[in-house]
Symmetry: C2
Subunit: 331 residues, 2 copies
C-alpha cells in the first residue's frame, strides 16, 4: 500500500482550509479533533447556525460572501451573549458543480473574517452532497463563569436599547429578489448596494460584547427580526415590553424606502438578518453603556422600556402596531 | 403583535428536541446559545462530523438510527483522542416530506444515546431544506490539559493495538445494497443482521477512552478503514508501521464472508465506518492496557508494530498486501 496517497478530501482540505488553521489547537488539521484551553474562570458559550443554498443565500451569490455570512451569524449570537470568540468548527456539503475557483474564494472570505473577528477555524467536515451547498458552523466563545447574558433576565423598569440600524438586510433581500424596487423606493445605486451588502454580509456587533456583558440585564441578537426577537426576550423574561417606533434607528436607505412605501414598516421591524443586538438595562446605566458603545465604535439607541405584565408592543402615535407575522421562521 | 405566538420552528424544537435538553447549560433551548463550565485543568476537544441522506445513510433507514449514527461518529473521535464527552450541538436540515412520526423516532434514538454516552444535546439549528436530510454534529469532550492523544506521536518500537473487530460495517453496507450477498457468503440471517446493524448504528469505544489516555502514545479512530487510518497515523508520526493480517480481529460474520470470498479482504481492511480505535504503545505497557480494556469491557488485540522509516504495510505470509484503494474518501 502506498501510504503517501492522500485522498481527494485530504487534498481539498489541505489546499483550501489548512491555511485557515492558524490556531495551534487546530493541529494544522492533521489530527481527528481540535483542542482548546478554555480561559481560566470562564464558561464556554456554544452556538450552531448555518446556511443552505436557496434558503439563506442565493446559489449564485459571490462565494466569498457565503462562509462569511455563516460565520457572522454565529458571531452575532456570541456578541449578544457578551462572549468573546474563541474559534469555530465548520461542516460544508458541496455539490459536484463546485470547483476550485469557488472554493478558493469561499475560503478566502472565511479566512479574512476568522482573522478580523479573532475567531479561528479549528476543524471541519467536508462532504460531497447530491443536494445543495450547505455550510454549518459551531462557534465557541468565552464569558466569565456564570455571566453569559441571558434573554430571560430583563427587569421591570429597564430601558430597551438596540445597536446600529434595523431593516437594512430584509430590504436588501427584497431588492435581491426584485431589483426594480430600488427605483420604486427612490434609492440611488449606492444606497441600494448598501442594503444588498447588509443582507449578504451582515455586521455582527462583537465590538459591543464587553459592554453587553458589563451593562445588560438581558440581551438577544436580532436575527429573526426586531419584533420577533424582542417578543422572545419579553416572553423569556416574563415581562411586558414597549418599543417606540419613532425611536427605532433606520439607515438613510431604509428611511427612503419607508417614505416611498409606508407599508414596508412591518417588513422592516419584523424581517430577519439584522444581526444587531437588542438589550435591556436600568435607565441610570444607559449613559455608561452608551459611552462604552461609543468607545467600541457601535451606535446604540434607546427605543423602549420594560414593564410588569406580558406581551411586546410597538407603539406609534400612542397606538400599538398590529403585525401580520411577528418573526421570521424557517418553517 | 401577539407575542404568545411561537413560530413553527420554535414548536418543532419544543416538541421534539427540548426533552433532550437535560443539561442546565442548554437553558431548556430558550436562549440563543448554550454555556458549559469546562472541568478545571482540562482542555476542550472539539470535533464535527455529520451524515447526509444518500451519502452516509439510506433515506429510508429507520429514523431512530440516523441521529444515533451521526452522534456516535463524533463520539468515536472523542474516544480515539482519550476525551470524555461533555455534550454536543446539532444542525439538522429537513425536507418538507419529514413528518412528526419521523422526527419523534429520530429524537428518541438520539436522546437514548445522549443519555447512554453521557453526552447531552446542548443546542441546535433546525432548517427546512429543498435538498436531502442532513445532520451535522459538533461534539465536545474534555482531556487533562495538553494530554489529547494525537495521531502524530507514535514511536519506533511501539506495538499496534486495535479494539473490537474490523470490517463488519463495510460488509453491512454491501449487504444493505445487495441483500443476496448474505446467501453467497453463507451467512445465517442473524449474522447478516449484525453486520447491517453495525453499519447503521456503530459502537464507538468511549469506554476505552480513559485507557487510551493513560497508555497510548498515539491513537486514531477507525472511521475511514483500518488501512487508511493506520496509514494516516504512520504518516503523521513519521514512522513505518506493519500490521500482521493474520492477527487482525474479525467477527464470525466477517470470517464467514472471507471464507466464501477471499477477495473481500481488501474491502474489510480498507472499508469505512468501523469506529474502532487503533493505537500504539510501548510493548511493555500492553499488559496494563489490556487489563484496563478488559475492565472497560472492550476487547483489544495486538496486531503489529512501529519501526523507523515510513509507510504502512499489511503483511500476509511474509509479503505485503497491495491495495487498490487504501482509504474511504468522500470525494
Amino acid at each position: 500500500m502506498d501510504d503517501s496517497k492522500e485522498s481527494a478530501e485530504d487534498r481539498l482540505i489541505a489546499r483550501f482550509f489548512r491555511p485557515l488553521a492558524t490556531d495551534p489547537g487546530a493541529f494544522d488539521f492533521i489530527d481527528d479533533a481540535a483542542a482548546i484551553t478554555p480561559p481560566p474562570g470562564c464558561d464556554l458559550v456554544l452556538k450552531t447556525d448555518g446556511v443552505i443554498a436557496g434558503v439563506h443565500f442565493f446559489p449564485d451569490d459571490p462565494p466569498e460572501t457565503i462562509g462569511r455570512k455563516a460565520l457572522r451569524m454565529n458571531l452575532s449570537d456570541l456578541a449578544g451573549k457578551g462572549a468573546r470568540p474563541l474559534g469555530f468548527l465548520m461542516s460544508i456539503a458541496l455539490p459536484e458543480t463546485i470547483d476550485a475557483k469557488w472554493l478558493a474564494a469561499f475560503a478566502a472570505g472565511l479566512g479574512e473574517d476568522a482573522k478580523a473577528f479573532g475567531c479561528p477555524l479549528l476543524g471541519g467536515d467536508t462532504d460531497h452532497t447530491p443536494g445543495l451547498i450547505s455550510v454549518s458552523i459551531a462557534a465557541f466563545g468565552a464569558v466569565p463563569h456564570g455571566k453569559m447574558v441571558r434573554r430571560s433576565t430583563a427587569r421591570t423598569g429597564d430601558c430597551v436599547v438596540v445597536s446600529g440600524t434595523i431593516g437594512d438586510s430584509t430590504l436588501g433581500l427584497r431588492l435581491r429578489r426584485e431589483p426594480a424596487l430600488a427605483a420604486r423606493w427612490g434609492l440611488a445605486e449606492a444606497l441600494a448596494a448598501t442594503l444588498l451588502q447588509r443582507y449578504r454580509v451582515p455586521e455582527p456587533r462583537n465590538a459591543l460584547a464587553d459592554a453587553v456583558l458589563r451593562y445588560a440585564t438581558a440581551s438577544i441578537d436580532v436575527s429573526d427580526g426586531l419584533a420577533g426577537d424582542f417578543a422572545k426576550l419579553c416572553r423569556a423574561s416574563h415581562v411586558a415590553g414597549e418599543i417606540d417606533v419613532a425611536r427605532v434607528p433606520f439607515s438613510d436607505a431604509v428611511r427612503a424606502a419607508l417614505k416611498a412605501d409606508s407599508a414596508l414598516l412591518e417588513t422592516v421591524l419584523s424581517g430577519g438578518d439584522d444581526y444587531e443586538i437588542v438589550l435591556t438595562l436600568p435607565p441610570e446605566k444607559f449613559a455608561g453603556f452608551a459611552a462604552a458603545a461609543q468607545s467600541a465604535g457601535v451606535p446604540v439607541t434607546q427605543i423602549g422600556s420594560i414593564t410588569a405584565g406580558e406581551g411586546a408592543r410597538f407603539m406609534r402615535d400612542g397606538k400599538p402596531l398590529a403585525f401580520a407575522q411577528s418573526s421570521y421562521s424557517h418553517f
